[in-house]
């Protein structure tokens, strides 16, 4: 991670979560969301707020609709009911122009990177730049792609490689580089540390943290990884019973009285992650 800024691991720095912003300054505002598959209700009357500049971790058991929530916010799936505002713009709007302004301001890292397999890493990063800023000279686009690749902590040699030639961790970094191509304000991450070894996962956590600080990103992060929650998240939102049970800093969430939350944070893995944080 040659590119990272000084990313202190101390949890104290994270405590500087943004103060509760007023309603209209939210990065993401979801109200009364309802998602139904056949006769299975996944979300019912779900509300969630994401404040600008924070890293929010979304957790929940399998099938509680974490990915469905993300897909709804990203307009990849139309919910049955509800309102979604992203950066103050109605994300469900039919207006192509409005949706485009949202899309240009959001970067997404999919679980397996979702890199275009026929393009090299550098070409992958250049795709959105060439598409949305076609007037820029080629050398600037190349330089910008290189900047994102280095920001993501990849070595220069990775730029000319195809996704299939990269390891899982490097593919995720390349995915981040492409997500950052348009300098978005919002970054969505779908289980960023899944499938990485503990050392790689910890390094990836630090990458997210350093990028968030350097670029002032708002990060919406779906995860199962308790270490990620304790190390980098300002807030944790728990999805259960078809809605967001609680959306608060982790110290409050772990005290929340709900069987799933208690099981999750106070099971053997939860305790281990907690005690790892308490060590100096």
């Amino acid at each position: 991670m040659s590119a990272s800024v000084d990313a202190g691991t101390d949890a104290a720095a994270i405590a500087t979560a943004p103060a509760a912003a007023s309603e209209n300054e939210l990065a993401i505002k979801v109200r009364g969301l309802r998602n139904v598959f056949g006769d299975q209700v996944v979300h019912d009357n779900l509300d969630i707020d994401v404040h600008p500049g924070e890293i929010i971790g979304v957790v929940g058991g399998s099938g509680t609709g974490k990915s469905v929530l993300m897909r709804a916010i990203l307009n990849l799936r139309r919910p049955q009911a509800g309102r979604i505002e992203v950066l103050g713009v109605d994300a469900l709007s039919e207006d192509r122009q409005k949706r485009l302004s949202v899309e240009k301001n959001t970067g997404v890292l999919y679980q397996n990177g979702a890199l275009f397999s026929s393009l090299t890493v550098a070409e992958n990063v250049m795709v959105p730049l060439k598409e949305h800023y076609s007037a820029l000279p080629a050398d600037l686009v190349t330089a910008l792609a290189m900047l994102k690749i280095r920001l993501s902590g990849l070595p220069d040699t990775a730029a000319a490689k195809f996704p299939s030639q990269l390891s899982g961790g490097m593919r995720k970094r390349a995915g981040i580089a492409r997500a950052l191509a348009l300098d978005p304000a919002l970054l969505f991450l779908d289980e960023p540390t899944a499938g990485l070894d503990p050392i790689g996962a910890a390094a990836f956590d630090q990458l997210i943290l350093s990028l968030q600080r350097a670029l002032g990103l708002t990060v919406f992060l779906i995860t199962h990884d308790l270490d990620t929650l304790y190390t980098i998240c300002n807030r944790v939102a728990v999805l259960a019973d078809k809605r967001v049970l609680i959306n608060a800093p982790i110290s409050e969430v772990e005290k929340f009285d709900h069987p799933w939350v208690q099981e999750y944070f106070h099971g053997p893995r939860g305790r281990a992650a907690q005690s790892a944080q308490e060590k100096p």
């Binding site: 800023y133 820029l136 910008l144 900047l147 920001l151 350097a214």
Partner: protein, 374 residues
């Protein structure tokens, strides 16, 4: 949050106190990148200091362009003062931008062409060796299974017989019938000049029994079935299902290839027979419709003039083509490497290879049968 600040265009002007100190202001962001580029290109070549505290919004693109300019005037991004909220961004971008990139040399010249030619030739050679090896492997597995007939997968074979054979019947019948009509018309046009229209019967019959019946069927199945085999096995390969089969102590050849091979070897001759009949029917239809040869006459003439040898010559090629199509289809499937793109590449390659090999062998066989006077 983003639209709150008024869209202020980026600018860089000499400050009032000292013209050699430049003040950057406005939004240094990606949407303004073109303007920024023009700005730093027209900016003075000397500057004592750059003041970035008036920059209202800065992203990594803006920071990179600022760094480019600062480096050009010999200052470096470290000396540029910015707002506290931009400090960490500038710091991380500075480190990156001031690390020189290694120049990547791309060679599009003659050497590269020769290199690609070499790689292609080598690939073809490898492909041929792999096909022969795969054929041997299948023979060995067949020998082993025949000794233990209980290991033949009956259900799977029947399933493939349905999808390879039965489902292809309408297509084969329709296309052969139409080609039969075309050949009859073509023959009639030429033979009419000699008043020998009745020889259309011989033309259509010999053509379909010897060549077209089996060739049409084999080409259709190469397109329809070889591609399906490759895609099915390729998807299993990329999903690590083949590896799972191996680690469970099973033989992927026995499990996946043999049922497909048997199904195709059984079904291709049957389909060939149908194609022959449909082709003859096409000739009969044209004869009755526009040449004045009644169906009775048509059939009588077949019995008088066409020897059964033609039928056997055509039929004898069917199992050979079936083996080729099945082997290539399955082998290409096993050669898939992980990605979806690879599945596509291999599918194309299996269709191209099986069709060309079928036509090549058919030409060789035609020469052989001609020499033998069969």
């Amino acid at each position: 949050m983003t639209t709150a600040t008024a869209s202020r265009l980026p600018a860089m002007e000499p400050s009032r106190s000292d013209p050699e100190i430049l003040r950057a202001s406005g939004e240094w962001t990606l949407p303004n990148a073109e303007r920024l580029l023009a700005l730093i290109n027209s900016a003075p070549h000397v500057a004592k200091d750059i003041d970035g505290r008036d920059i209202s919004r800065l992203d990594s693109t803006g920071a990179m362009l600022l760094s480019r300019y600062a480096t050009r005037v010999g200052l470096g991004l470290a000396t540029v003062e910015v707002k506290a909220e931009h400090q960490s961004l500038v710091e991380s971008v500075r480190e990156i931008c001031e690390t020189p990139t290694l120049p990547v040399k791309k060679d599009y010249g003659f050497r590269r062409m020769a290199e690609r030619l070499g790689i292609t030739v080598e690939d073809y050679a490898k492909e041929v060796i792999a096909l022969i090896g795969f054929g041997g492997l299948c023979l060995k597995t067949i020998a082993a299974t025949i000794l233990k007939p209980s290991r033949i997968r009956i259900t799977s074979t029947i399933y493939h017989m349905e999808s390879v054979g039965l489902d292809a019947v309408p297509l084969v019948l329709l296309l052969s019938f139409m080609v039969g009509c075309v050949v009859a018309f073509l023959g009639a046009t030429v033979l009419r000049e000699f008043g020998a229209e009745v020889f259309v019967v011989e033309l259509v019959n010999i053509a379909f029994l010897r060549e077209f019946g089996v060739l049409l069927t084999a080409i259709l199945l190469a397109g329809r079935t070889a591609s399906a085999f490759t895609a099915q096995i390729g998807a299993m390969q990329s999903g690590e299902e083949i590896d799972a089969i191996r680690t469970l102590g099973l033989d992927p050849i026995e499990l996946l290839v043999l049922p497909r091979l048997f199904a195709l070897v059984l079904m291709l001759p049957l389909l060939t027979f149908m194609a022959m009949m449909a082709g003859l029917a096409g000739g009969m239809a044209v004869g009755a419709g526009s040449l004045g040869i009644s169906p009775d006459m048509y059939i009588a003439r077949i019995q008088e003039t066409i020897s059964i040898t033609h039928f056997w010559v055509g039929m004898s090629k069917a199992p050979v083509f079936a083996v080729i199509i099945a082997l290539i289809g399955c082998l290409e499937g096993f050669q898939v490497q992980g990605t979806a793109e690879s599945v596509g590449e291999r599918t194309t390659s299996s269709v191209v290879q099986s069709i060309s090999l079928v036509i090549l062998l058919d030409a060789l066989a035609a020469m052989f049968f001609m020499e033998m006077d069969w």
